[in-house]
Symmetry: C2
Subunit: 268 residues, 2 copies
Protein backbone atom coordinates (compact mmCIF):
# COMPACT_ATOMS: atom_id res chain seq x y z
CA UNK A 1 0.00 0.00 0.00
CA UNK A 2 1.21 3.45 -0.85
CA UNK A 3 -0.92 6.55 -0.47
CA UNK A 4 1.34 8.93 -2.36
CA UNK A 5 -0.24 10.46 -5.46
CA UNK A 6 0.26 9.48 -9.10
CA UNK A 7 1.99 12.20 -11.13
CA UNK A 8 0.97 12.77 -14.73
CA UNK A 9 2.31 15.37 -17.14
CA UNK A 10 1.84 16.40 -20.72
CA UNK A 11 2.85 19.27 -22.97
CA UNK A 12 -0.65 20.64 -22.56
CA UNK A 13 -4.11 19.32 -21.91
CA UNK A 14 -4.00 16.27 -24.21
CA UNK A 15 -2.81 14.13 -21.30
CA UNK A 16 -6.21 14.60 -19.71
CA UNK A 17 -7.38 11.74 -21.95
CA UNK A 18 -4.95 9.55 -19.96
CA UNK A 19 -6.20 10.99 -16.64
CA UNK A 20 -9.74 10.06 -17.69
CA UNK A 21 -8.58 6.46 -18.17
CA UNK A 22 -6.55 6.44 -14.93
CA UNK A 23 -9.60 7.58 -12.96
CA UNK A 24 -11.70 4.88 -14.59
CA UNK A 25 -9.14 2.13 -13.85
CA UNK A 26 -7.95 3.36 -10.44
CA UNK A 27 -10.77 5.39 -8.88
CA UNK A 28 -9.07 5.38 -5.46
CA UNK A 29 -5.82 6.98 -6.54
CA UNK A 30 -4.95 10.64 -6.01
CA UNK A 31 -3.68 12.28 -9.17
CA UNK A 32 -1.50 15.35 -9.67
CA UNK A 33 -1.56 16.55 -13.27
CA UNK A 34 0.74 19.12 -14.84
CA UNK A 35 -0.01 20.47 -18.33
CA UNK A 36 2.65 22.75 -19.79
CA UNK A 37 0.10 24.99 -21.49
CA UNK A 38 2.50 27.94 -21.38
CA UNK A 39 4.96 26.19 -23.72
CA UNK A 40 2.79 23.75 -25.64
CA UNK A 41 2.85 22.25 -28.17
CA UNK A 42 6.03 20.20 -27.75
CA UNK A 43 5.37 18.23 -30.95
CA UNK A 44 6.78 20.94 -33.19
CA UNK A 45 9.92 21.47 -31.10
CA UNK A 46 13.34 19.80 -31.13
CA UNK A 47 14.91 17.22 -28.85
CA UNK A 48 17.09 19.53 -26.75
CA UNK A 49 14.17 21.84 -25.98
CA UNK A 50 11.86 18.95 -25.15
CA UNK A 51 14.39 17.37 -22.80
CA UNK A 52 14.81 20.66 -20.92
CA UNK A 53 11.05 21.11 -20.65
CA UNK A 54 10.47 17.51 -19.52
CA UNK A 55 13.13 17.79 -16.78
CA UNK A 56 11.33 20.82 -15.37
CA UNK A 57 7.94 19.09 -15.57
CA UNK A 58 9.33 16.09 -13.67
CA UNK A 59 11.00 18.23 -10.97
CA UNK A 60 7.66 19.94 -10.42
CA UNK A 61 5.80 16.62 -9.95
CA UNK A 62 8.51 15.19 -7.68
CA UNK A 63 7.74 18.09 -5.33
CA UNK A 64 4.41 16.35 -4.61
CA UNK A 65 6.15 13.16 -3.48
CA UNK A 66 4.55 11.14 -6.27
CA UNK A 67 4.97 7.35 -6.38
CA UNK A 68 5.06 7.08 -10.16
CA UNK A 69 5.35 9.51 -13.06
CA UNK A 70 3.17 8.96 -16.10
CA UNK A 71 4.42 10.78 -19.21
CA UNK A 72 1.12 11.23 -21.01
CA UNK A 73 2.83 12.82 -23.98
CA UNK A 74 3.96 10.96 -27.05
CA UNK A 75 6.50 13.62 -27.97
CA UNK A 76 8.28 13.49 -24.58
CA UNK A 77 8.08 9.70 -24.50
CA UNK A 78 9.59 9.62 -27.99
CA UNK A 79 12.65 11.72 -27.29
CA UNK A 80 13.17 12.02 -23.52
CA UNK A 81 12.01 8.82 -21.77
CA UNK A 82 15.55 7.64 -21.08
CA UNK A 83 16.54 10.98 -19.56
CA UNK A 84 13.32 10.99 -17.52
CA UNK A 85 13.93 7.49 -16.14
CA UNK A 86 17.50 8.40 -15.23
CA UNK A 87 16.61 11.58 -13.35
CA UNK A 88 13.53 10.26 -11.53
CA UNK A 89 13.84 8.35 -8.21
CA UNK A 90 10.35 6.86 -8.82
CA UNK A 91 9.25 4.69 -11.77
CA UNK A 92 8.41 6.45 -15.03
CA UNK A 93 5.78 5.12 -17.45
CA UNK A 94 5.80 6.44 -21.00
CA UNK A 95 3.21 6.02 -23.70
CA UNK A 96 5.45 4.51 -26.37
CA UNK A 97 6.27 1.15 -24.76
CA UNK A 98 2.73 0.77 -23.41
CA UNK A 99 1.14 1.38 -26.80
CA UNK A 100 3.74 -0.68 -28.65
CA UNK A 101 3.02 -3.72 -26.47
CA UNK A 102 -0.72 -3.38 -27.08
CA UNK A 103 -0.24 -2.98 -30.83
CA UNK A 104 2.14 -5.92 -31.02
CA UNK A 105 -0.43 -8.09 -29.22
CA UNK A 106 -3.30 -6.89 -31.44
CA UNK A 107 -1.82 -7.27 -34.92
CA UNK A 108 -2.42 -10.42 -36.93
CA UNK A 109 -0.99 -9.29 -40.27
CA UNK A 110 2.16 -7.87 -38.62
CA UNK A 111 1.46 -4.53 -40.33
CA UNK A 112 1.06 -1.60 -37.94
CA UNK A 113 0.44 2.07 -38.64
CA UNK A 114 1.45 4.91 -36.30
CA UNK A 115 -0.11 8.39 -36.30
CA UNK A 116 1.61 11.21 -34.40
CA UNK A 117 3.16 14.66 -34.45
CA UNK A 118 6.12 15.44 -36.73
CA UNK A 119 8.54 14.97 -33.83
CA UNK A 120 7.05 11.66 -32.73
CA UNK A 121 7.05 10.22 -36.24
CA UNK A 122 10.51 11.44 -37.26
CA UNK A 123 11.96 10.15 -33.97
CA UNK A 124 11.25 6.59 -35.15
CA UNK A 125 10.73 5.55 -31.51
CA UNK A 126 7.50 3.64 -32.11
CA UNK A 127 9.20 1.67 -34.85
CA UNK A 128 12.13 0.92 -32.51
CA UNK A 129 9.84 -0.14 -29.67
CA UNK A 130 7.75 -2.35 -31.96
CA UNK A 131 10.82 -3.99 -33.51
CA UNK A 132 12.26 -4.66 -30.06
CA UNK A 133 9.09 -6.67 -29.37
CA UNK A 134 8.73 -8.31 -32.79
CA UNK A 135 11.50 -7.72 -35.35
CA UNK A 136 9.30 -8.93 -38.22
CA UNK A 137 6.67 -6.17 -37.86
CA UNK A 138 6.17 -3.71 -40.71
CA UNK A 139 5.62 -0.24 -39.28
CA UNK A 140 4.34 2.76 -41.26
CA UNK A 141 4.38 6.19 -39.60
CA UNK A 142 2.26 9.15 -40.64
CA UNK A 143 2.58 12.67 -39.20
CA UNK A 144 -0.84 14.28 -38.69
CA UNK A 145 0.02 17.86 -37.69
CA UNK A 146 -3.51 19.20 -38.22
CA UNK A 147 -5.20 16.77 -35.79
CA UNK A 148 -4.29 18.72 -32.62
CA UNK A 149 -5.60 22.10 -33.89
CA UNK A 150 -8.70 20.34 -35.24
CA UNK A 151 -9.49 18.82 -31.82
CA UNK A 152 -8.66 22.01 -29.93
CA UNK A 153 -10.93 24.07 -32.15
CA UNK A 154 -13.90 21.72 -32.02
CA UNK A 155 -13.50 20.13 -35.47
CA UNK A 156 -13.95 16.54 -34.33
CA UNK A 157 -17.56 15.50 -34.82
CA UNK A 158 -18.10 12.44 -36.99
CA UNK A 159 -19.93 14.68 -39.49
CA UNK A 160 -17.30 17.45 -39.53
CA UNK A 161 -16.41 18.01 -43.19
CA UNK A 162 -13.06 19.72 -42.47
CA UNK A 163 -11.85 16.93 -40.18
CA UNK A 164 -13.04 14.37 -42.71
CA UNK A 165 -11.08 15.89 -45.63
CA UNK A 166 -7.90 16.16 -43.56
CA UNK A 167 -8.30 12.71 -42.01
CA UNK A 168 -8.68 11.23 -45.51
CA UNK A 169 -5.47 12.99 -46.61
CA UNK A 170 -3.61 11.44 -43.70
CA UNK A 171 -5.22 8.00 -43.68
CA UNK A 172 -6.17 6.98 -47.23
CA UNK A 173 -2.70 5.61 -47.98
CA UNK A 174 -2.76 3.54 -44.76
CA UNK A 175 -6.24 2.09 -45.27
CA UNK A 176 -6.10 -1.54 -46.28
CA UNK A 177 -2.36 -1.81 -45.61
CA UNK A 178 -2.39 -2.16 -41.78
CA UNK A 179 -4.62 -4.07 -39.34
CA UNK A 180 -3.55 -2.07 -36.26
CA UNK A 181 -3.21 1.69 -35.91
CA UNK A 182 -1.56 3.44 -32.96
CA UNK A 183 -3.17 6.82 -32.20
CA UNK A 184 0.21 8.17 -31.11
CA UNK A 185 -0.89 11.48 -29.62
CA UNK A 186 -3.15 12.03 -26.63
CA UNK A 187 -5.46 14.32 -28.60
CA UNK A 188 -6.23 11.73 -31.24
CA UNK A 189 -8.73 9.55 -29.30
CA UNK A 190 -11.12 12.51 -29.63
CA UNK A 191 -11.08 11.82 -33.41
CA UNK A 192 -11.42 8.05 -32.90
CA UNK A 193 -14.91 7.82 -34.43
CA UNK A 194 -13.85 9.43 -37.68
CA UNK A 195 -10.57 7.52 -37.84
CA UNK A 196 -12.49 4.25 -37.30
CA UNK A 197 -14.96 5.16 -40.09
CA UNK A 198 -12.12 5.76 -42.55
CA UNK A 199 -9.93 2.80 -41.55
CA UNK A 200 -12.80 0.31 -41.46
CA UNK A 201 -13.93 -2.39 -39.04
CA UNK A 202 -10.97 -4.74 -39.38
CA UNK A 203 -8.48 -2.27 -37.91
CA UNK A 204 -7.65 -2.19 -34.18
CA UNK A 205 -7.13 1.37 -32.92
CA UNK A 206 -4.66 1.68 -30.03
CA UNK A 207 -5.46 4.56 -27.67
CA UNK A 208 -2.13 5.51 -26.09
CA UNK A 209 -3.71 7.27 -23.09
CA UNK A 210 -5.69 4.17 -22.22
CA UNK A 211 -2.73 1.80 -22.68
CA UNK A 212 -0.49 3.99 -20.54
CA UNK A 213 -3.09 4.16 -17.77
CA UNK A 214 -3.31 0.35 -17.89
CA UNK A 215 0.48 0.06 -17.74
CA UNK A 216 0.62 2.40 -14.73
CA UNK A 217 -2.13 0.38 -13.01
CA UNK A 218 -0.25 -2.88 -13.60
CA UNK A 219 2.99 -1.36 -12.30
CA UNK A 220 1.36 -0.09 -9.10
CA UNK A 221 -0.33 -3.43 -8.53
CA UNK A 222 2.79 -5.54 -9.15
CA UNK A 223 4.91 -3.40 -6.84
CA UNK A 224 2.27 -3.22 -4.11
CA UNK A 225 1.96 0.53 -4.54
CA UNK A 226 -1.83 0.85 -4.83
CA UNK A 227 -3.63 3.20 -2.48
CA UNK A 228 -5.52 1.60 0.43
CA UNK A 229 -9.04 2.60 -0.65
CA UNK A 230 -10.87 5.88 -0.21
CA UNK A 231 -12.00 8.26 -2.90
CA UNK A 232 -9.38 9.47 -5.34
CA UNK A 233 -8.75 13.16 -5.77
CA UNK A 234 -7.31 15.06 -8.72
CA UNK A 235 -5.31 18.27 -8.68
CA UNK A 236 -4.50 20.08 -11.90
CA UNK A 237 -1.67 22.50 -12.60
CA UNK A 238 -0.88 24.40 -15.77
CA UNK A 239 1.86 26.84 -16.76
CA UNK A 240 -0.64 29.22 -18.35
CA UNK A 241 -4.32 29.66 -17.97
CA UNK A 242 -6.25 31.08 -20.88
CA UNK A 243 -9.90 31.95 -21.36
CA UNK A 244 -10.13 28.86 -23.47
CA UNK A 245 -8.94 26.51 -20.77
CA UNK A 246 -12.25 25.23 -19.37
CA UNK A 247 -13.70 24.47 -22.80
CA UNK A 248 -10.61 22.53 -23.88
CA UNK A 249 -10.27 20.64 -20.60
CA UNK A 250 -13.89 19.51 -20.81
CA UNK A 251 -13.35 18.13 -24.34
CA UNK A 252 -10.29 16.13 -23.29
CA UNK A 253 -11.12 15.08 -19.73
CA UNK A 254 -14.76 14.40 -20.54
CA UNK A 255 -15.92 16.35 -17.48
CA UNK A 256 -15.45 19.87 -16.13
CA UNK A 257 -12.16 20.54 -14.38
CA UNK A 258 -11.75 22.09 -10.94
CA UNK A 259 -8.76 22.89 -8.63
CA UNK A 260 -6.44 24.40 -11.20
CA UNK A 261 -3.16 25.95 -10.07
CA UNK A 262 -0.79 28.14 -12.07
CA UNK A 263 2.92 27.21 -12.13
CA UNK A 264 6.00 29.17 -13.24
CA UNK A 265 7.50 26.07 -14.76
CA UNK A 266 10.70 27.66 -16.08
CA UNK A 267 11.76 28.21 -12.46
CA UNK A 268 11.93 24.43 -11.87
CA UNK B 1 22.65 58.26 -40.22
CA UNK B 2 22.80 55.24 -37.95
CA UNK B 3 24.32 51.95 -38.99
CA UNK B 4 23.01 49.88 -36.08
CA UNK B 5 20.68 47.04 -37.09
CA UNK B 6 16.90 46.91 -36.92
CA UNK B 7 15.61 44.36 -34.39
CA UNK B 8 12.48 42.36 -35.18
CA UNK B 9 10.85 39.66 -33.08
CA UNK B 10 7.81 37.46 -33.18
CA UNK B 11 6.44 34.48 -31.30
CA UNK B 12 7.59 32.32 -34.19
CA UNK B 13 8.16 32.64 -37.89
CA UNK B 14 5.05 34.70 -38.75
CA UNK B 15 7.05 37.91 -38.30
CA UNK B 16 9.03 36.94 -41.39
CA UNK B 17 6.17 38.45 -43.40
CA UNK B 18 7.15 41.79 -41.80
CA UNK B 19 10.85 41.16 -42.54
CA UNK B 20 9.93 40.60 -46.18
CA UNK B 21 8.25 44.03 -46.24
CA UNK B 22 11.13 45.69 -44.34
CA UNK B 23 13.65 44.36 -46.87
CA UNK B 24 11.50 45.64 -49.71
CA UNK B 25 11.11 49.13 -48.17
CA UNK B 26 14.60 49.47 -46.66
CA UNK B 27 16.98 47.27 -48.67
CA UNK B 28 20.04 48.91 -47.07
CA UNK B 29 19.18 48.11 -43.47
CA UNK B 30 20.71 45.28 -41.48
CA UNK B 31 18.07 43.18 -39.75
CA UNK B 32 18.31 40.91 -36.70
CA UNK B 33 15.26 38.67 -36.36
CA UNK B 34 14.33 36.56 -33.37
CA UNK B 35 11.50 34.01 -33.64
CA UNK B 36 10.53 32.30 -30.38
CA UNK B 37 9.86 28.99 -32.08
CA UNK B 38 10.63 27.12 -28.84
CA UNK B 39 7.61 28.65 -27.09
CA UNK B 40 5.26 29.57 -29.93
CA UNK B 41 2.41 30.13 -30.34
CA UNK B 42 1.88 33.08 -27.97
CA UNK B 43 -1.69 33.64 -29.21
CA UNK B 44 -3.17 30.92 -27.02
CA UNK B 45 -1.33 32.06 -23.87
CA UNK B 46 -2.22 34.57 -21.16
CA UNK B 47 -0.97 38.10 -20.51
CA UNK B 48 1.52 37.35 -17.71
CA UNK B 49 3.23 34.64 -19.73
CA UNK B 50 3.36 36.80 -22.85
CA UNK B 51 4.88 39.74 -20.96
CA UNK B 52 7.60 37.51 -19.52
CA UNK B 53 8.38 36.04 -22.94
CA UNK B 54 8.42 39.48 -24.65
CA UNK B 55 10.82 40.91 -22.05
CA UNK B 56 13.26 38.07 -22.78
CA UNK B 57 12.89 38.54 -26.55
CA UNK B 58 13.66 42.27 -26.20
CA UNK B 59 16.69 41.70 -23.95
CA UNK B 60 18.05 39.33 -26.57
CA UNK B 61 17.69 41.89 -29.39
CA UNK B 62 19.15 44.73 -27.27
CA UNK B 63 22.32 42.66 -27.08
CA UNK B 64 22.82 43.42 -30.80
CA UNK B 65 22.76 47.19 -30.17
CA UNK B 66 19.66 47.61 -32.34
CA UNK B 67 18.36 51.12 -33.12
CA UNK B 68 14.68 50.18 -33.13
CA UNK B 69 12.64 47.16 -32.09
CA UNK B 70 9.81 46.01 -34.32
CA UNK B 71 7.30 43.77 -32.55
CA UNK B 72 6.05 41.79 -35.52
CA UNK B 73 3.54 39.94 -33.37
CA UNK B 74 -0.05 40.99 -32.88
CA UNK B 75 -0.38 39.08 -29.64
CA UNK B 76 2.62 40.80 -28.00
CA UNK B 77 1.58 44.18 -29.39
CA UNK B 78 -1.91 43.60 -27.97
CA UNK B 79 -0.92 42.85 -24.41
CA UNK B 80 2.70 43.93 -23.84
CA UNK B 81 3.50 47.00 -25.97
CA UNK B 82 3.47 49.38 -23.01
CA UNK B 83 5.80 47.16 -20.99
CA UNK B 84 8.06 46.82 -24.04
CA UNK B 85 8.25 50.59 -24.58
CA UNK B 86 9.05 51.14 -20.91
CA UNK B 87 11.86 48.60 -20.76
CA UNK B 88 13.50 49.45 -24.09
CA UNK B 89 16.03 52.30 -24.41
CA UNK B 90 15.36 52.41 -28.19
CA UNK B 91 12.01 53.08 -29.92
CA UNK B 92 9.53 50.20 -30.16
CA UNK B 93 7.12 49.83 -33.06
CA UNK B 94 4.12 47.53 -32.63
CA UNK B 95 1.70 46.26 -35.20
CA UNK B 96 -1.53 47.46 -33.56
CA UNK B 97 -1.10 51.24 -33.87
CA UNK B 98 0.43 50.93 -37.34
CA UNK B 99 -2.44 48.82 -38.65
CA UNK B 100 -5.09 50.87 -36.84
CA UNK B 101 -3.87 54.07 -38.50
CA UNK B 102 -3.96 52.43 -41.94
CA UNK B 103 -7.45 51.02 -41.35
CA UNK B 104 -8.77 54.32 -40.02
CA UNK B 105 -7.45 56.05 -43.17
CA UNK B 106 -8.89 53.38 -45.48
CA UNK B 107 -12.47 53.07 -44.20
CA UNK B 108 -15.29 55.09 -45.78
CA UNK B 109 -18.23 53.42 -44.03
CA UNK B 110 -16.57 53.63 -40.59
CA UNK B 111 -17.10 49.87 -40.18
CA UNK B 112 -13.89 47.90 -39.65
CA UNK B 113 -13.39 44.20 -39.05
CA UNK B 114 -10.41 42.69 -37.18
CA UNK B 115 -9.19 39.11 -37.54
CA UNK B 116 -6.72 37.71 -35.01
CA UNK B 117 -5.86 35.06 -32.46
CA UNK B 118 -8.08 34.53 -29.39
CA UNK B 119 -5.75 36.63 -27.24
CA UNK B 120 -5.55 39.51 -29.72
CA UNK B 121 -9.31 39.67 -30.18
CA UNK B 122 -10.27 39.30 -26.51
CA UNK B 123 -7.68 41.95 -25.54
CA UNK B 124 -9.81 44.55 -27.38
CA UNK B 125 -6.61 46.48 -28.20
CA UNK B 126 -7.43 47.02 -31.88
CA UNK B 127 -10.80 48.44 -30.90
CA UNK B 128 -9.10 50.76 -28.36
CA UNK B 129 -6.49 51.92 -30.89
CA UNK B 130 -9.12 52.53 -33.59
CA UNK B 131 -11.41 54.42 -31.20
CA UNK B 132 -8.49 56.58 -30.06
CA UNK B 133 -8.10 57.64 -33.71
CA UNK B 134 -11.83 57.93 -34.56
CA UNK B 135 -14.34 57.42 -31.76
CA UNK B 136 -17.22 56.90 -34.20
CA UNK B 137 -15.77 53.74 -35.80
CA UNK B 138 -17.68 50.47 -35.47
CA UNK B 139 -15.21 47.62 -34.88
CA UNK B 140 -16.06 43.92 -35.13
CA UNK B 141 -13.45 41.40 -33.98
CA UNK B 142 -13.29 37.76 -35.05
CA UNK B 143 -10.91 35.16 -33.62
CA UNK B 144 -9.60 32.83 -36.34
CA UNK B 145 -7.64 30.20 -34.38
CA UNK B 146 -7.38 27.76 -37.30
CA UNK B 147 -5.66 30.19 -39.69
CA UNK B 148 -2.15 29.73 -38.21
CA UNK B 149 -2.21 25.91 -38.36
CA UNK B 150 -3.70 26.09 -41.86
CA UNK B 151 -0.84 28.31 -43.11
CA UNK B 152 1.84 26.31 -41.29
CA UNK B 153 0.59 23.07 -42.78
CA UNK B 154 0.29 24.31 -46.34
CA UNK B 155 -3.49 24.75 -46.47
CA UNK B 156 -3.46 28.20 -48.05
CA UNK B 157 -3.87 27.88 -51.82
CA UNK B 158 -6.81 29.78 -53.29
CA UNK B 159 -8.32 26.42 -54.28
CA UNK B 160 -7.80 24.70 -50.92
CA UNK B 161 -11.15 23.28 -49.88
CA UNK B 162 -10.30 23.01 -46.15
CA UNK B 163 -9.10 26.62 -45.91
CA UNK B 164 -12.16 27.73 -47.87
CA UNK B 165 -14.66 26.03 -45.51
CA UNK B 166 -12.94 27.43 -42.41
CA UNK B 167 -12.48 30.91 -43.90
CA UNK B 168 -16.20 30.99 -44.74
CA UNK B 169 -17.03 30.03 -41.14
CA UNK B 170 -14.94 32.93 -39.86
CA UNK B 171 -15.80 35.53 -42.50
CA UNK B 172 -19.37 35.02 -43.72
CA UNK B 173 -20.86 37.08 -40.88
CA UNK B 174 -18.44 39.94 -41.59
CA UNK B 175 -19.01 40.02 -45.36
CA UNK B 176 -21.09 43.01 -46.40
CA UNK B 177 -20.88 44.59 -42.93
CA UNK B 178 -17.35 46.11 -43.08
CA UNK B 179 -15.40 47.93 -45.80
CA UNK B 180 -11.98 47.45 -44.16
CA UNK B 181 -10.54 44.30 -42.64
CA UNK B 182 -7.39 44.17 -40.52
CA UNK B 183 -5.48 40.90 -40.96
CA UNK B 184 -4.38 41.04 -37.33
CA UNK B 185 -1.83 38.22 -37.31
CA UNK B 186 1.40 37.99 -39.30
CA UNK B 187 0.44 34.61 -40.75
CA UNK B 188 -2.78 35.85 -42.30
CA UNK B 189 -1.35 37.67 -45.36
CA UNK B 190 -0.53 34.18 -46.69
CA UNK B 191 -4.32 33.60 -46.86
CA UNK B 192 -4.95 37.05 -48.39
CA UNK B 193 -6.12 35.72 -51.75
CA UNK B 194 -8.80 33.53 -50.23
CA UNK B 195 -9.89 36.20 -47.74
CA UNK B 196 -10.18 38.72 -50.60
CA UNK B 197 -12.27 36.26 -52.63
CA UNK B 198 -14.71 35.80 -49.75
CA UNK B 199 -14.90 39.43 -48.62
CA UNK B 200 -15.29 40.83 -52.15
CA UNK B 201 -13.68 43.69 -54.10
CA UNK B 202 -15.01 46.59 -52.03
CA UNK B 203 -13.13 45.59 -48.88
CA UNK B 204 -9.66 46.97 -48.08
CA UNK B 205 -7.41 44.34 -46.47
CA UNK B 206 -4.84 45.74 -44.03
CA UNK B 207 -1.63 43.67 -43.87
CA UNK B 208 -0.19 44.33 -40.41
CA UNK B 209 3.35 43.23 -41.34
CA UNK B 210 3.43 45.69 -44.23
CA UNK B 211 1.99 48.56 -42.18
CA UNK B 212 4.46 47.95 -39.37
CA UNK B 213 7.39 47.89 -41.79
CA UNK B 214 6.15 51.19 -43.22
CA UNK B 215 5.83 52.65 -39.72
CA UNK B 216 9.37 51.57 -38.84
CA UNK B 217 10.67 53.08 -42.10
CA UNK B 218 8.94 56.41 -41.35
CA UNK B 219 10.30 56.45 -37.81
CA UNK B 220 13.88 55.82 -38.95
CA UNK B 221 13.59 58.50 -41.63
CA UNK B 222 12.04 61.13 -39.34
CA UNK B 223 14.66 60.61 -36.65
CA UNK B 224 17.58 60.52 -39.10
CA UNK B 225 18.34 56.92 -38.19
CA UNK B 226 18.53 55.37 -41.67
CA UNK B 227 21.67 53.47 -42.64
CA UNK B 228 24.12 55.25 -44.96
CA UNK B 229 23.72 52.93 -47.95
CA UNK B 230 25.36 49.59 -48.65
CA UNK B 231 23.63 46.27 -48.93
CA UNK B 232 21.42 45.19 -46.06
CA UNK B 233 22.06 41.92 -44.27
CA UNK B 234 19.70 39.72 -42.29
CA UNK B 235 20.53 37.46 -39.37
CA UNK B 236 17.94 35.05 -38.03
CA UNK B 237 17.72 33.51 -34.56
CA UNK B 238 15.21 31.03 -33.20
CA UNK B 239 14.73 29.35 -29.83
CA UNK B 240 14.17 25.97 -31.42
CA UNK B 241 15.03 24.55 -34.79
CA UNK B 242 12.90 21.76 -36.13
CA UNK B 243 13.07 19.72 -39.30
CA UNK B 244 10.15 21.76 -40.51
CA UNK B 245 11.89 25.09 -40.14
CA UNK B 246 13.17 25.66 -43.67
CA UNK B 247 9.83 24.83 -45.29
CA UNK B 248 7.90 27.18 -43.00
CA UNK B 249 10.41 30.01 -43.30
CA UNK B 250 10.24 29.84 -47.09
CA UNK B 251 6.42 30.13 -47.00
CA UNK B 252 6.50 33.19 -44.74
CA UNK B 253 9.65 35.02 -45.89
CA UNK B 254 9.03 34.26 -49.55
CA UNK B 255 12.64 33.15 -50.04
CA UNK B 256 14.95 30.57 -48.47
CA UNK B 257 16.47 31.52 -45.13
CA UNK B 258 20.16 31.38 -44.24
CA UNK B 259 22.27 32.32 -41.18
CA UNK B 260 20.09 30.81 -38.49
CA UNK B 261 21.30 30.77 -34.88
CA UNK B 262 19.84 28.89 -31.93
CA UNK B 263 19.13 30.84 -28.71
CA UNK B 264 18.35 29.65 -25.16
CA UNK B 265 15.82 32.41 -24.74
CA UNK B 266 14.72 31.53 -21.19
CA UNK B 267 18.21 32.51 -20.02
CA UNK B 268 17.64 36.15 -21.07
Amino acid sequence: MDNRPVGVFDSGLGGLTAVRELRRLLPNEDIVYFGDTGRCPYGTKGRVTIERFAAQDIRFLLGFNVKVIVIACNTVSSVALEMASEMSPVPVVGVIESAARAASAATKSGKIGVLGTFTTITSGRYEQALHALQPSLTVTGRACPMFVPLVENGYFGRDCRVAEIIAHEYLDELRGTVDTLILGCTHYPILKGMIADIMGDGVALIDTGRETAMEAARLLEHRGLLKDGGDGSARFFVSDRTDDFARLAAILLGSPIENVGLVKIDQY
